[in-house]
Subunit: 156 residues, 2 copies
Amino acid sequence: MENNQQPPHSTRIPTWLDSLQASGYRITGSLRAVVEVIATSNFICSPMEIYLQAARQYPGLGLVTVYRTLEKLEDLGLVERVHREDGCHSYIAAAEGHQHLLICTNCKRAEHFSGDDLSPLMAELGTTRGFHIQGHWLQLFGLCRDCQCSLEEAAQ
Amino acid sequence: MENNQQPPHSTRIPTWLDSLQASGYRITGSLRAVVEVIATSNFICSPMEIYLQAARQYPGLGLVTVYRTLEKLEDLGLVERVHREDGCHSYIAAAEGHQHLLICTNCKRAEHFSGDDLSPLMAELGTTRGFHIQGHWLQLFGLCRDCQCSLEEAAQ
DNA sequence: ATATAATTGAAAATGATTTTCAATTTCAAT
DNA sequence: ATTGAAATTGAAAATCATTTTCAATTATAT
């Protein structure tokens, strides 16, 4: 089940733009530039990183517009906010259904996986602790294949 | 396996103070006040909440000192930082060993549980995705027994 | 073409957290 | 008890991500 070299993420762009337009948002140059960056990235991206990349396509872009665009995309469920250790947030294209993230601590590459082996755990906790469970947060951290290699080399 | 009405959390206070002193930190009134609040709480507490409570015991306490004290306690592994949805942080007395948190979304009561059913999942991902997994983040959210009742009443 | 409502970027505001700094306090050694 | 060096303090200022304000611009339905 490869998740990497799958359908080119660029196919997301027209879909997202249609979705945005259908929801009454207007399609502007700024919007396109931000969508292109976040829709095609395999890495979690901070608003600043998105801004810096998108501004190459669309100079004059403002960082505030990136924040506003990400909010729209999140509202439509196209993009997912990722909580970082430092309390800031990064973003990544959302996965279908209920999935979790596996994030490379070195390069920030991220892959989704479905780990619904959690349901029994949650059911058990519901009864033993008397909690009515509503949701959960699960993120895994590690080194992706590329970073394992490059860090090994660097260590020599 | 009740986790609630267990050994009174107040026994943590002398232990923590000893631990702090043994590490070369000086025991001051501010420190005591902050330790007393966080060591005995069953809820996740923000620095501001700790400040407001501790300042009743030790007027003149500064919010900055709360931040500094929490940092010391975290360094010693006595306290654990909890990531919140809004990106801010709350704190709670750390559990023994590797545990996860179950947090009431209404009153912020928190209980630890050990959920090491995750190891097989992580091992599998290591191989299928080529990641070398280093750690994970798991938090469950729900309503504690008390809040389930009080919210039911309120709904009537 | 036009009117209107959405969108824009810049600048200012916010709010949690951190840093700076001079004054105070702890505690080990007298 | 006294002392003195090093740790700790609170206040004020600085930082930094994020949000709000606002007047100017722009997309789109008509």
